[in-house]
Symmetry: C2
Subunit: 319 residues, 2 copies
């Protein structure tokens, strides 16, 4: 049996036929055209799934379920997206609409949670009982899986770990709070700090690497400059890693998961990030190295985590 | 059927026969004498249970299980206390030892988690799907229950919400970290701040209420002085409530539980605490009052939460 995973994004709808072990059998995509009403968007999702089935030469009987990862707040029980600011969705009946075209069980999850489920079932989390996925991107996204279940609270908006305040007098967040973790550990925060440091140190390699044009700054450049020995970039990275460790030790003290996986742009640094991060975690954790039992590593599935996790949603709900 | 709940403390062992609805049928206690080896302590626990059964005039057949709440780190699966610094316990086989005297299923949990389970099954949490219990005492203790299960991580040391840092440059905690929540929201922290404010304002009511002897300060006095209009005490309470709200909104953003119950000394303030706290939470939460769906209230079972929760442990594990 296969499952269909659909990753609904603001720009593209990506879908795939996924085998039980997480292998992508056939993948396709279609533009979201997000200004549209929900009906044509959901019809396109269903049509894309049917097209993949036809192209692969299999039958509907070979498909066990359809899973959808969506931005916003889902109500998985009722198959509804309650709200998302990326699309014209408000109390949108995802399940019922898709089932107009394909008569299969339809499962629904928030995109960050679904990507975490993908890593848990088929990626870096295979073999572990519980996993917390942290995405270091525009913000700090998160998903928590315990015993194959998505932990997202009673109002489907839970596990917003990026909005845990780590400095009650700190930087004001878009959510209105002060000192939210994502203000220090997102790629956006790293770029902000690197720009600031470069502007204040125009003789630094960090400044030279953007040719004096701060708009060229990205999350990779400060790591590269630090590796090349630039002290200004080194200080930016040290501070970034230190505060990332503060947030990760919070996660460990909250969930004590077997594994934390880091995804998103900054995680592409691999060991450049993970090695100094583990050192800081050991400094920060109660009991030191001996007590540091949670594995911390980068995510494995990359952009496919969303599709694969969506295809695995049935495992979280069919129990 | 009844269950036996045993609350193992550093000073006393309390035990009770508990009905399915959480009613305590008969309660007793015996001194822990904590300097002893584990064998006589566990024998006393079993003997206390047997004595209660005999006094009540029921039979062992009327007892379904025995639950034990213990300080320290339990390994519930194997019925072992891995470690506790309150007692001479290290990899101590609680289950096997008790079963030498009483041949019944024995379940084991950390005392904070077990008290949370008590509130969930029989106290303020009845009727809710998930609950986070926060104890404002010597430290900030916590227990998380979701779908009748204790969420304590893969290494049985999880849900240490008191050790979430809310100020990465803040007050150094006994755990070694900086800015742990319990450094701001424990009764200990409130007393520390009240002492400091009284010492600096010897004309305040706060100072007068301890007769100028700061060692008389407790967690009730600053609330009483603030109620009586003392501005110095008012500022201490305002700051305490504000930082308690920071931690509570963290908990909401992490777990989005249906209910958070507050226990421990400070919670005895009831509405004096809860009303201003809710105001601060609404200021702090994303989406304001409309988005504030989690109930926040004081715990109901008081000191009996531990015994009742221990008696209910079977519900968390027999599935």
């Amino acid at each position: 049996m296969y499952n269909i995973g659909i990753d609904l994004g603001g720009t593209n709808i990506a879908a795939a036929i996924v085998a039980e072990d997480g292998t992508i059998i056939r993948k396709g995509s279609t533009p979201t055209l997000r200004e549209r009403e929900y009906q044509p968007i959901l019809k396109d999702m269903a049509m894309l799934a049917l097209k993949l089935i036809e192209e692969e030469g299999i039958n509907l009987e070979d498909i066990h379920s359809i899973g959808v990862g969506s931005p916003g707040t889902p109500d998985p029980e009722n198959g509804i997206i309650v709200y998302t600011n990326n699309l014209n969705f408000k109390n949108t009946p995802i399940r019922d609409e898709i089932r107009k075209y394909i008569d299969k069980p339809v499962y629904l999850g928030n995109d960050a949670n679904v990507a975490a489920l993908g890593e848990y079932e088929c990626g870096a989390g295979v073999g572990y009982k519980d996993l917390v996925a942290i995405t270091l991107g525009t913000g700090v996204g998160s998903g928590v899986i315990i015993d194959e279940k998505i932990i997202d609270g009673s109002f489907n908006g839970g596990a917003e770990l990026g909005h845990v305040s780590i400095d009650f007098n700190g930087i004001t967040c878009s959510c209105g709070r002060k000192g939210c973790w994502e203000q220090y550990s997102s790629a956006t925060a790293l770029i902000r700090d690197a720009k600031e440091a470069a502007a204040q140190n125009t003789d630094s390699l960090l400044y030279k690497m953007v040719d004096g044009d701060l708009d060229k700054m990205n999350a990779k450049i400060p790591f590269d400059a630090a590796q090349a020995g630039d002290e200004v970039a080194g200080a930016v990275i040290d501070n970034y890693v230190k505060l990332l460790a503060v947030g990760i030790v919070n996660v460990i003290n909250i969930f004590q998961p077997e594994i934390i996986v880091l995804g998103g742009g900054v995680s592409a640094q691999g060991d450049n990030l993970i090695k100094p991060l583990k050192k800081e975690i050991i400094n920060e954790i109660y009991g030191g190295e001996e007590a540091f039992k949670t594995k911390v590593q980068v995510a494995k599935l990359g952009n496919d985590a969303g599709i694969i996790g969506a295809a695995m949603l049935y495992r979280a709900y069919e129990k």
